[in-house]
């Protein structure tokens, strides 16, 4: 099935075809692993990989959003806002009362 000699022959042919490719970015690796200049150090720090645990961060975000939502709604003070009809037009009750109040004063 899989002939060792042929495996070696294929390897030899691939080696010969790819022989002109050489790794040239040793400097790039060293600037990240052993930064020497100030700019390499800053660049290294700036590009530092961080791992964010998705579950706790997601849970905290949802909790914050829920809390913010609850605070916003509770600031309504229980005031019921509804659509009302005055003079053939439809208004939000709170807006209508504000405008009428302003006109009266």
């Amino acid at each position: 099935m899989i002939d060792n000699k042929q495996q070696k022959e294929l390897k030899r042919q691939l080696d010969s075809e790819l022989s002109h490719f050489s790794f040239t970015k040793q400097g790039g690796v060293l600037s990240k692993t052993h930064p020497k200049t100030w700019s390499e150090k800053v660049n290294n720090w700036w590009n530092k990989e961080i791992t964010i645990p998705l579950l706790p961060v997601g849970a905290i975000t949802v909790l914050l959003l829920l809390t913010a939502g609850m605070i916003l709604f509770s600031n309504d003070g229980g005031q019921q806002v509804e659509l009302i009809e005055r003079g053939g037009n439809i208004y939000w009750s709170d807006m209508y009362e504000r405008k009428v109040g302003a006109n009266e004063s």
């Binding site: 294929l10 691939l14 075809e17 790819l18 790794f23 692993t33």
Partner: protein, 181 residues
């Protein structure tokens, strides 16, 4: 003190030595996998950085080379990964084993390659999962078990992919290079 110990101590010279020893081999592997020499060089560069930073995770010192191959293979897979709905249907991979028929033998592939065109260009035309096992098995001369460990698949899956990959490779070489992707 051996190379891995020196890497653990953070020695720059040890890292240079590792890059001298394995840089070209890993670059050529990445080129076979991602088909682009610039992208391949970037992947190998990142792989050396990762290897240096995570050298403590290497449990068996004598497996440095295969550990580096795993890092590069993962890097290449990460770059080549594209979203596909077929990812949802996980059972698809299991069905591969039903077609375990080695239609082409390696000799055919080599002989056709000699006559017509370069083998690495033909390998580039294989779908990624076949390209990966063909590269690891033929270029790195890994065994079926070692290949399975690198790509984290079952040995039967590797055998199936090798058989299918060889068949596709033979067809590509015979046709003179049509795209199978």
């Amino acid at each position: 003190m051996d190379l891995v110990d020196r890497l653990r101590l953070g020695e720059e010279e040890a890292l240079v030595q590792v890059m001298d020893n394995y840089g070209d081999l890993l670059l050529r592997t990445a080129i076979l996998l991602v088909k682009d020499s610039f992208l391949a060089e970037e992947i190998v560069q990142d792989s050396f950085v990762i290897a240096f930073q995570k050298i403590d995770q290497l449990k068996e010192k004598e497996k440095l080379k295969s550990w580096l191959i795993i890092i590069v293979a993962n890097g290449c897979r990460g770059k080549m990964r594209t979203w596909s709905w077929k990812n949802i249907f996980l059972f698809k991979e299991d069905n591969e084993e039903e077609h375990l028929v080695d239609e082409a033998n390696p000799e055919d592939v080599v002989m056709i390659g000699f006559k017509n065109q370069s083998i690495h260009k033909a390998i580039h035309q294989l779908p990624y999962k076949y390209r990966e096992v063909i590269t690891l098995f033929y270029f790195h001369e890994l065994s079926i078990t070692e290949t399975a460990n690198v790509i984290k698949e079952k040995e039967n899956t590797v055998k199936t992919r090798l058989a299918r990959g060889r068949t596709l490779l033979k067809e590509i070489l015979q046709k003179g290079g049509e795209n199978f992707d």
